[in-house]
Amino acid sequence: MSSKLVRKSVESRKRKNLARPGKKPGFHAVYGVLFLLVLFAVFFLHIGSPDRDYSVTEKRALEALPTLSFNSLRDGSFMEDAEEYSAEQFPGRDLLMRLRTGFSYVLGMRESNGVYRGRSGQLAERFDEPDPELFEKTAAAVKNFAARHPSSQTSFLLAPTVGAVAPELLPKDAVNADENAYIDHFFDSIRGAAAPIDVRSAFLKAKASGTALYYRTDHHWTTDGAYAAYLEASSVMNFPARSFSRAVVSDDFRGSLAAKSGFYAGAADSIAVYTDTDESLKLLLKNEETGETRASLYYGSALDSADPYELFFGGNYPMLTIESTADSDRTLLVIKDSYANSFLPFLAGSYRKITVIDPRYYSRTVDNLFVLENYDDILFLYNAGTLAKDSSLYKVLE
């Protein structure tokens, strides 16, 4: 296509080109028009596709279309929100994320969004150097809390994550702060006030015998890992270990780390459930937040949902109580993160009543619970990755 000075007006130029029969538009002309058409197609696809409130794979709320106002324009927050909105509601976002991590992986990148993709497809969250100030606050809060409740026996199960137990599964030379040193340091700091439940040597033994202690696509321990920890806890907390039967309930579980990182390669995980062999044991789970009660700790319907890990207790809630027909008059207070969700079913048959507090969602003071009743045992259960970054625990213990 010949180019003319614009002064001669676009119309006349068009007529001239049309008047020349057989003159085909050049490659770049076609290219340019097609390029713009592609951009427009994406534009309309974005506008036309319905907005999602929640990302199923990433497990988080997504940005909604921002509202226009004088203030949001002046301080630029409208523009920032609009940029975020355009990215989070982008058509095919999940696929694009996988494309990006896949492309980068092929080029040698073993890390995405703070998640390592290690050997044999193991995903692991990076363990960053813990904040010393937060460490002191948390350790002191736990110690003081235990000292305030001398009639209860306090234990702390600080679970290692996969990087501490199986560092050989991380990418070669991956940079991780020393999680084992962190766990040692924490146990040393609370010793005397709370009994440490250190599962690491048990885990190393179980690992050597071929037990998969951690999911490959999720940051949690497997139910088998939780069971190994349960055996260790029973000896520290002085209750007899009960017997269970194991069954696999799902074998296509893709967990939080796959979602967070976009690393999808490799096989899915399976989820196992342990059932107490004492069939006469009856349970009553009460969600103190929603008021819902039920006779099981499991939400089977969650297996088909976006987050199959919600199989255990239906997710994380501020406060739960588990009452059982267990042949025991002991009560237990558990202060925990989500590692406890697959662990607590083991305890249900050993306690008359278990109260479960998740400080990340609990906004009151735990001490107030002792006004109503006393607990024979107190168990803190956290994984090192969460505790090292958690600023909610010391707050609810104040």
Binding site: M1, V6, A29, Y31, G32, F40, M79, S86, L96
Partner: protein
């Protein structure tokens, strides 16, 4: 707004191009372009847009005044330079100047840090070039406010250059070649720039950020990796902005001057600065260096001229003493090459020397302050807090090695050949490459929150 954003790519760009090509006449097209340019700027600077509009109006009126009152031409120019530098100085250097005065005279004047209006250094320099060349009688004053506003604010080069001089686009403001052919060629140039920025510069930028964030664990090996990454990042970022600006300009019928010409293949530092950010170098040459007498003066005066120009060039890049020192560092190198070295070093030595000099410069430049810059430099010289090397450096090399390699290959003549082939000969390769770049860039922009704008201090 920046080019490497989803809103620009999938809303602003197609809508502005559509409207621009649909409306009939050049004046209306100019109006469309101006409106979109103001929107583009206001998107990132909703308040400072008024500063830019003020600057446009004042410089337009000063231009008219200069022409209408030829007797007072000189006074008008002095006033114009003064008012432009005052505005630039107030918004960019006020905090720096006050803390400098405080340090010098041991005072405690309150330091007020204003957020720097994006692109102010670029558009102020464009306005100055317009007025100075008008004073020199190179052209008549622009009587059409719309055309003048468009010259200053055209969104292509508004926030990251090139610095277009008025004489380069004077005619194009009213007469320019518009064709679907140019649209395609311009967009092709744009998409290659987009790939450079999003797929290479941003990734290497993440490596540099990680290295510069290392405290006690920084090793000499990591420091070199980080600075190598930065060396490639700033080239692929900055030249990509120019590619995108020139490409978009071409799509709309403008011919902007080239801003980068394979700078890392220079045989001397002098040559490097003729190939790096060409429009800035020639601006300082034309409006500062030559008026000072250039090299047609006694050697001591020539040396002084070089020192002045490079202190100012350094300062232009950011209001901090480290940028001034970075400029003076180049002044010394240029003086060394002119008076001591005289001709390029033999063999491959000349390339190694130039690249090394430039990388050490970036170590100071990238830190943004003297303490950090010196820490990085001493780490590179073997005095790193973490020792010579550790496994982290190995890990980073494995993670980013492909990008470092790709970046290095692309700055070599091979990369240039590839680009030229794509842009002119291999049609289907261009179409395929464009689609792949667009898809991958989108994937990176959708999920990667690391998308820095390096020129916020310019």
């Amino acid at each position: 707004m920046v080019f490497s954003s989803l809103i620009f790519l999938y809303a602003f760009l197609p809508l502005s191009m559509l409207l621009y090509f649909v409306v009939p006449e050049i004046r209306v097209k100019n109006l469309v372009l101006l409106m979109f340019s103001l929107l583009f700027y206001a998107w990132g600077e909703p308040v400072y847009i008024f500063l830019m509009l003020f600057s446009i109006l004042v410089n337009y009126l000063l231009g008219r005044l200069m022409e209408d009152e030829p007797a007072k031409k000189k006074h008008t120019l002095v006033f114009a330079v003064f008012i432009n530098l005052l505005t630039l100085g107030f918004f960019k250097y006020y905090g720096f100047a006050v803390s400098g005065i405080n340090a010098l005279f041991r005072l405690q004047l309150p330091v007020r840090e204003l957020p720097l209006p994006i692109g102010i250094s670029f558009y102020t320099f464009q306005a100055l070039s317009y007025l100075i060349d008008l004073y020199r009688g190179k052209y008549r004053a622009q009587k059409n406010l719309l055309s003048f506003a468009l010259y200053i604010s055209m969104y292509f080069q508004l926030i990251a250059g090139p610095i277009v001089r008025y004489k380069e686009v004077e005619r194009q403001l009213t007469e320019r070649r518009l064709s679907a052919e140019n649209l395609g060629k311009g967009l092709a140039r744009f998409v290659l720039g987009l790939g450079k920025k999003v797929l290479i510069a941003n990734v290497l930028g993440a490596l540099f950020d990680r290295v510069s964030g290392m405290g006690g664990t920084l090793t000499t090996a990591s420091a070199w990796l980080g600075i190598a990454a930065y060396t490639l990042q700033i080239y692929f970022d900055f030249s990509a902005y120019s590619d995108m600006a020139i490409g978009l300009g071409k799509a709309c019928g403008f011919d902007f001057p080239e801003n980068f010409n394979q700078p890392y293949l220079s045989k001397s530092v002098t040559e490097f600065w003729r190939r790096w950010h060409i429009s800035l170098g020639s601006w300082f040459r034309e409006y500062v260096y030559i008026p000072l007498g250039g090299n047609r003066v006694k050697p001591w005066r020539h040396v002084l001229n070089i020192l002045i120009v490079w202190a100012l060039t350094g300062l232009w890049h950011g209001a901090d003493i480290s940028f001034v020192l970075w400029g003076l560092y180049y002044a010394l190198l240029l003086i060394f090459e002119k008076y001591v070295l005289k001709k390029p070093l033999p063999g491959p030595l000349k390339y190694i020397y130039t690249l090394l000099a430039v990388m050490l410069g970036w170590a100071l430049f990238s830190a943004g302050n003297l303490t950090e810059g010196l820490r990085m430099l001493s780490s590179m010289c073997g005095f790193a807090p973490g020792g010579l090397a550790d496994t982290e450096a190995l890990y980073l090399l494995r993670s980013y090695g492909a990008w470092l390699l790709a970046g290095t290959v692309l700055v070599l003549p091979l990369g240039m050949k590839l680009r030229d082939r794509l842009l002119s000969k291999s049609r289907f390769a261009l179409a395929a490459a464009s689609l792949v770049i667009l898809l991958l860039s989108t994937a990176f922009l959708v999920t990667e929150n690391y998308n820095p704008f390096l020129y916020f201090r310019f």
